[in-house]
């Protein structure tokens, strides 16, 4: 019986070894990412300027509805630029109204007020190295300084945020 016990103990030593292994963890920095929201979060917002017949082309500015459009942009890490493409005019299928007839006022002033210039890369916000996020609310205004043919004119602008 003594011999048996010895054999068993010897086997246990070889079957249950102790070993060490190393695992090295590397955490990469998150890739730069930008995000932008213009108007509603899930659908494309439509700003409507509805003119009374008595005011067509008389210079009375026409405020768009909704008059409170959210513009929010952010970047990781920081320092982003916002541009807008307003190069394709509004059209009723036959006649056009340029986006240069539309301006906006920014309610908070975190983004500048301005006017569409009809280009594809108009800078709305210059890069700021320390800025990670900006948010404001725009009210859009149609000049209404020209008599234009009747109809419903539609069009779109595209806001883009990127890191230069």
């Amino acid at each position: 019986m003594k011999i048996k016990f010895f054999i068993i103990a010897f086997l246990i030593v070889f079957i249950s070894p102790i070993a060490h292994g190393k695992i090295t963890f590397v955490v990469w920095k998150a890739p730069p990412e930008v995000s932008i929201q213009v108007g509603a979060t899930t659908v494309v917002t439509t700003v409507t300027h509805d003119l009374p017949a008595s005011q067509v082309g008389d210079g009375t500015p026409i405020t768009g509805t909704p008059d409170d459009v959210v513009i929010e942009a952010s970047a990781r890490p920081t320092g982003f630029i916002i541009t807008v493409d307003s190069s394709t005019p509004l059209t009723n299928g036959t006649h056009t109204i340029p986006f240069t007839d539309i301006s906006w006022t920014a309610k908070k002033g975190d983004l500048p007020s301005g006017r569409f210039n009809g280009s594809s890369t108009q800078v709305i916000l210059q890069p700021n190295p320390s800025m990670q996020r900006v948010k404001d609310r725009f009210t859009f205004i149609y000049d209404n300084t020209r008599v234009v043919p009747y109809g419903t004119y539609t069009g779109s602008v595209t806001y883009t945020v990127s890191v230069p």
Binding site: P32, V34, V44, L51, V56, G64, H95, P149, Y150, T152
Partner: protein, 162 residues
């Protein structure tokens, strides 16, 4: 809302809609009130069937502004088909009063007892009509002189989209 890698960026659209209704602005004469064109033919005018210029109000400003396409101007009057009247049973046909524009493109329809004469105005550009002129009225004394008296009537011009 959109997110994306910083290099390519992220974009979001904003739609715009401008609703322009159709309208016609048409003025014959003063901005407010109804103008009066007054003819006082001389005895010789009446006797010879001459043309009498207006004593007052004979040159009338006309303005037409519209974004609705081609415009037609139609004439009518309050004579009930009988012409200008002296308050009794004597009449002068509306056709004896003739208006001539002093610039082309905004011609008046000829006045008539029955009304309904029209003048089609060509657009200025596209669907836009923006024209102004003056209509100058004269009275053609009829060959058969009417009975003496003061004859009155009101003509109405209506601009509309055909």
């Amino acid at each position: 809302a959109a997110a994306g890698p910083a290099g390519t960026g992220a974009s979001a659209d904003l739609n715009f809609q401008i609703v322009i209704p159709s309208f016609i602005y048409f003025r014959v004469g003063s901005v407010s009130g109804v103008d009066t064109v007054d003819f006082q033919p001389t005895v010789n005018d009446v006797a010879t069937g001459a043309v009498t210029n207006a004593t007052s109000g004979g040159t009338v400003d006309v303005v037409l502004l519209s974004n609705a396409g081609q415009i037609t101007i139609e004439e009518a009057n309050d004579g009930g088909g009988t012409g200008l009247d002296d308050g009794g049973t004597n009449y002068i046909p509306w056709g004896q009063i003739v208006a001539t524009p002093n610039s082309a493109g905004l011609d008046p329809p000829q006045l008539s007892d029955a009304g309904g004469n029209t003048s089609v105005i060509a657009v200025t550009s596209g669907n836009i009509t923006a024209k102004s002129t003056q209509w100058i009225y004269v009275y053609n004394n009829p060959a058969t002189p009417p009975a003496s008296g003061t004859y009155t009537g009101t003509a109405t011009y209506t601009a509309s989209i055909p």
